[in-house]
């Protein structure tokens, strides 16, 4: 083991990005929510804020994420299912009615259509009279992992990276409090990769984004402080604590040594954590509360900046209000009762934690080296390398479970004969027809000539190298829909079609 003297708040930030960590400020408790209609989502947000939640985290339905309006034929069966349906500014205004956008920060899980949803948020702020300099939040805006694991891509990688850089460049000037990319390992971990792969593939995506922006001529210290990360917290408690420490150390070195960053804020790996949905079981769902508590504790001991704790019913459905509240209470108990916030990086210095940190760092470095040798992450993704690594790991895991080499309580051991039936949140089947009517009215009511003009301007700009953000803001202000904007961009950029062999 190499001799290291590391301190919290000092390069390479292994022990945390702040000197005092949670003694100074607790993490942000940010529960991912959003479903059905804008009205229902607005109600849930107000409820969560009234219960002491400190930031919003917005879930969108799949049509919104993949650029189809609720009335598109491709949206069949998916409207309002995994998140709220947003097709136009009218929906976004409804979601945030009565919520002061200068007082809350909003994180949006949105990637291929991030530029449009950010534009919608900014348009709402503008209408409420909140200056853009006062709004804060995050767009996930991390398209590379969509090609690998999550699947909500629209366009091929190159135009997608252009849209990402457009957002980064625009926000550096216009919306300084906005986190422009949340580079995620969460979904790759859910898809089955290991802790070391989660670090490596996430940082490799991060490297690709920083390189894209540098290649555009941006100064690294002007945008890198607004790039954040999003990790999973899995069930292996000590390995997860070490994972966060190793990721911080590695990123600090990458930013300083590879990209020549001078500002320490560019080198700090700030991250959001969500406990691992894939560790939850449909069998004996009360056990999931215990699993989530252990995972949340690992995230806190690993120094997370914000946290989502899963609800016990998430292996089966969207959480009910009751189970969502229990998940939030879990965080509050860790924060206010457990005492673990008293000291930054309280496990630092433990022989086992330090050696695990070194091991994971080393393994991740080897993956990064391999990816560099392939010509970078874009090439590694296009060649199918990352996808295959992840699914090989997922299959290996399944085999160890079936052979009972790994025990999952209630699934392959300690199986009870009683199956608990959960009350599940259901989505109104009349929602889709109602959305179709609403959108028809919107298209009739808006200034049609203005909408046409906005779309023509967008198409022209998309073919040039102009920054598309200001133009998309104009589009959404004129009640041009998400689907209409994407239709124009699909025509210009083409659509990504993966080759999927197993």
């Amino acid at each position: 083991m190499t001799e290291r003297r590391e301190e919290p708040g000092k390069f390479p930030f292994t022990r945390g990005i702040h000197t005092t960590m949670y003694r100074g400020k607790l993490w942000t408790m940010r529960q991912y929510a959003g479903f059905g209609t804008a009205q229902e989502t607005n109600k849930r947000y107000k409820y969560l804020l009234s219960q002491g939640q400190t930031g919003l985290s917005m879930a969108f339905d799949l049509p919104t994420q993949i650029g189809y309006d609720s009335d598109d034929a491709m949206a069949l069966g998916e409207v309002g299912r995994v998140g709220v349906a947003i097709s136009s500014l009218a929906d976004m205004e409804q979601v945030f009615r009565g919520i002061p956008l200068d007082k809350v920060s909003t994180s949006m899980t949105i990637n291929a259509t991030a530029s449009i949803l950010l534009a919608l948020y900014l348009a709402v702020a503008g209408k409420e009279g909140v200056p853009w300099s006062k709004v804060s939040g995050t767009v996930q805006n991390d398209i590379l992992k969509e090609y690998i694991a999550r699947g909500t891509y629209i366009f091929p990688p190159l135009p997608s990276l252009r849209l990402i850089a457009d957002i980064v460049e625009f926000c550096a000037k216009e919306v300084p409090g906005w986190n422009t990319i949340s580079v995620g390992g969460y979904h790759m971990r859910e898809a089955g990769c290991t802790a070391a792969q989660e670090i490596a593939f996430t940082l490799a995506d991060g490297i690709a984004y920083v390189q894209t922006c540098v290649d555009r001529g941006l100064n690294v210290d002007d945008f890198a402080p607004r790039i954040a990360f999003f990790f999973n917290c899995h069930s292996n408690f000590l390995e997860e604590v070490a994972k966060f420490r190793a990721a911080r150390r590695l990123w600090a070195h990458i930013m300083r040594d590879r990209f020549g960053a001078k500002n320490e804020r560019s080198m700090m790996l700030r991250f959001h954590t969500q406990t691992a949905g894939s560790t939850l079981t449909a069998q004996q769902p009360d056990n999931n509360v215990v699993r989530t508590t252990i995972e949340a504790l690992a995230a806190v001991l690993g120094g997370t900046q914000s946290l989502h704790t899963n609800s016990k019913d998430e292996a089966i459905a969207l959480p009910t209000e009751e189970s969502a509240l229990l998940a939030l209470r879990t965080q509050q108990i860790i924060a206010h009762e457990s005492g673990v916030t008293a000291e930054p990086d309280p496990l630092g210095g433990s022989y086992y934690i330090e050696s695990l940190t070194n091991q994971l760092e080393q393994q991740a470095r080897e993956y990064l080296h391999k990816i560099d040798n392939m010509g970078g992450m874009l090439k590694a993704i296009e060649g199918g390398y990352v996808y295959k690594e992840i699914y090989r790991a997922a299959y290996e895991h399944q085999k160890t479970v079936e052979r009972k080499e790994k025990i999952i309580v209630g699934v392959n051991e300690f199986v009870g004969d009683k199956k608990l039936v959960l009350k599940t949140q259901t989505i109104d089947p009349k929602l889709e027809p109602r959305r179709r009517r609403e959108l028809a009215t919107l298209r009739k009511k808006r200034n049609a000539a203005r909408a046409e003009k906005c779309l023509a301007t967008l198409e022209k700009a998309a073919k040039s190298s102009e920054n598309l953000m200001p133009i998309i803001v104009d589009c959404v202000r004129s009640y041009v829909t998400v689907g209409e904007i994407c239709k124009v961009l699909r025509r210009t950029f083409g659509e990504y079609r993966p080759s999927h062999s197993i």
């Binding site: 049509p63 998916e78 299912r81 299959y395 989505i427």
Partner: protein, 132 residues
């Protein structure tokens, strides 16, 4: 020699969660079956066309996004319309108990929820899929 059971594993709708579908596909292949995987984001029309073209014995439909009722129902309707006979249809993913009951009435032979083993799916297919 008897031809192995041929299975189409298909992702319906816009859902991108493919870990389960892929693990099942790999597992059935290792269990000696011939497996075709569609990848994510298929319309019911595309799934039925693939099943006909590949002349499969069984179709496994996967969805974790809640769109299963609309999409799986459509697959069954299209199979009927195209007069596809003797193809076993089963499902997996996040499918609430009440929906699973309804799907079984419509003609889906079994629904494998979270935590199901590959061994149990393989056994099911050996028992019910007509190996031609």
């Amino acid at each position: 020699m008897k031809r192995p059971i041929k299975v189409l594993i298909a992702k319906a709708g816009l859902d991108g969660h493919e870990r389960g579908a892929l693990v099942v596909a790999m597992g059935l292949r290792d269990a000696g079956m011939e497996v075709v995987y569609t990848g994510i984001r298929n319309t019911p029309e595309q799934i039925v066309a693939a099943a006909i073209q590949e002349d499969v014995d069984a179709i496994g439909l996967s969805s974790l996004s809640g769109g299963h009722m609309a999409q799986f129902k459509r697959v069954l309707e299209l199979l009927k319309k195209e007069r596809v006979k003797g193809v076993l249809v089963f499902a997996g993913g996040i499918i609430p108990d009440d929906d699973a009951k309804k799907l079984k009435k419509l003609g889906i032979k079994a629904v494998f929820g979270p935590g199901s083993s590959i061994a149990s799916i393989a056994e099911f297919l050996r028992k019910y899929a007509r190996a031609k």
